[in-house]
């Protein structure tokens, strides 16, 4: 009866759905911090947390309690409102982006027609939070980190959005549920190999996770914008970071891995909702583990490498993917053509990066006058 009353009133219903999200997501993030420490530990032949609870499962909760009870310090010279509002400016857009995410064919907060567009628009807002944190802290490292964050996030936003746009061209829809529905027989990672590569790389950079953790590099800018934060405000930065990672992972599994579709759902439409959730969970987990694995493996890029890689390789190839899609769709070429062209372009992008990395140590040779360029 209460449920019926809630679902009748659109305002109450919205509040109820947001409350569920706001309660579930932090718990998920707490478990993710545990998982991340475990995975990184195993990659380094350690065990990771083992003491708090069985296999250290409650470590994240202990850390949360510690963070929540710590003193919330604000530097005396900080710009008060900018400093105190910055964590909210980071966290709120991330939570807003959850609204557009479908978890199964029927389970979502709101099925937006322009879901992908909304997601990109909203998640791009958190850059402002980083600049605010960097400026408001009155700390030169925070400011440097904030400026780096702005430069990196804005740069990588472009190839990321272009890759997403290329994917959206194929089903000719920006509705995430429709995009997933169009992948019932073949996931788009096959058709859009190049877009997938660009998405993964630019997505890692958007999350400023290693090897793209230049804005928050401990050894260079001692944590960047977060350097002056402590206690609950610092944990809000962490919350925002982990939720964005989950969101990018979910988006990747929706757009490229076929979302909740099981391999045989092309023949049988009636996959139960529980199985759909399991499939989403598996695909998202694969992305998350991949991000953690990369974090444990690769060293940080230099800032000029990061920028030139984005502008000279990712961006042109993202446009190339859009052009390929346009040609195939306009002239009604067969799908195999799209696979072939996109795969060839992906191979080309990999070769260009390889060549640039190989030549990066070679200087002042007659044939290669453009020193400082990766091309």
């Amino acid at each position: 009866m209460f449920l019926a009353f809630v679902s009748d009133n659109p305002w109450l219903e919205a509040i109820a759905r947001m409350a569920v999200i706001a309660l579930l997501v932090p718990v998920g993030v707490i478990m993710l911090t545990w998982l991340e420490r475990k995975v990184i530990g195993r990659l380094q032949m350690r065990l990771g947390p083992m003491r708090v609870g069985p296999y250290g499962l409650l470590q994240g909760f202990a850390d949360t309690v510690k963070l929540l009870t710590k003193e919330d310090v604000r530097p005396h010279t900080a710009d008060r409102w900018t400093f105190e509002l910055a964590p909210f400016v980071i966290v709120v857009p991330v939570f807003m982006a959850i609204v557009a995410i479908p978890f199964t064919a029927d389970l979502f907060i709101k099925n937006l027609t322009l879901g992908l567009f909304y997601f990109v628009a909203v998640s791009g807002l958190s850059i402002v939070g980083f600049v605010m944190a960097g400026w408001g802290s009155d700390n030169k490292y925070a400011l440097l980190g904030g400026v780096r964050a702005a430069a990196q996030l804005i740069s990588y936003e472009i190839p990321l959005v272009m890759a997403l746009l290329a994917v959206a061209m194929v089903p000719q829809s920006l509705n995430l549920a429709e995009i997933v529905g169009a992948q019932a027989d073949t996931p788009y990672i096959v058709y859009q190999t190049l877009a997938f590569l660009i998405f993964v790389i630019a997505g890692t950079a958007e999350l400023y996770r290693p090897p793209f953790d230049i804005p928050v590099a401990e050894s260079e800018v001692v944590g960047g914008p977060t350097v002056e934060y402590s206690g609950i405000r610092w944990s809000m930065f962490q919350l925002g970071e982990f939720v964005s990672m989950v969101l990018i992972s979910i988006l990747g599994s929706l757009l490229f891995l076929g979302g909740w579709n099981w391999p045989w759902s092309a023949f049988d439409e009636s996959v139960p909702a529980a199985a759909q959730i399991v499939m989403m969970f598996l695909k998202t987990s694969a992305f998350i583990i991949f991000f953690m694995w990369i974090r444990g493996s690769l060293p940080r890029l230099r800032i000029d490498q990061m920028m030139s890689f984005c502008w000279q390789i990712l961006l042109p190839f993202a446009f190339l993917q859009i052009i390929i899609n346009g040609l195939v769709l306009v002239y009604d070429w067969p799908n195999e053509m799209m696979i072939l062209l996109s795969g060839a372009a992906a191979a080309g992008a990999v070769y260009m990066t390889y060549r640039a990395a190989r030549l990066s140590g070679v200087r002042y040779q007659p044939g290669y006058q453009r020193v400082g360029s990766v091309l």
Binding site: R42, L43, Q44, M45, L47, G296, S297, P299, T353
Partner: protein
Amino acid sequence: MLGILKAIETTVRAAMRRPVTVQYPTEKKELPHRSRGLPVLLWDFDINEPFCTGCQVCARYCPVDCMTVTMKDNPNFAAGKSKRKKIVDRFYIDYARCMRCDICVEVCNFDAIVMNNTWKGVELSRYDRQELVMDLPALLKQSKSGDLETPFREPMGVAHSGWAPKMDEEEEAAAEAASAERHHGTSPDAPSSPEQTADPTAEAPAGSEARAEQAIPKAADGGSNPATEGAEG
């Protein structure tokens, strides 16, 4: 570029291996036999009294002055049970001050003090550093309860070579065998039997070989040993 793939492969290989972590308080590595924990006194089970006679040589040689020793007349000697005329009365070691230099063990004439080679010799956290001043019962407790199973003591002659009267090789071997029997409960008839020395698992023969090598230069001061000459030249 290819390094990226190499890095990823390396981490996967590492993840496949067993973690090297030892979960310390619940799971402990075996300490080496020569592990040097804080010093404790040994209990003479034959007579049921400490080996220590309270001669204070350890207290005098202690570089950080962490020991206080007094002696008394031995009641067991009066009763005819013991050869020790004097026995330790009170013995204090300030573990907070001890630097585990092993000098007390080297100078002890009665093999009465050893560096504790068990985990109890290092797990000594206390809330008050006064509690780290150990008295005689505390120092004897571990040996007396049989918890200190194989204390490590330098074989006779090595540590003492600076000032102790020198033994010739045969005497030394005999002393070594006797010492090994006393401390390890085995009785290797050390360098005489070739089968025993060929066996690498036997602890005492391996030790006696090392001892024999060290003893040779002393015995061969005249320069009759070609190996030593070659090493010196």
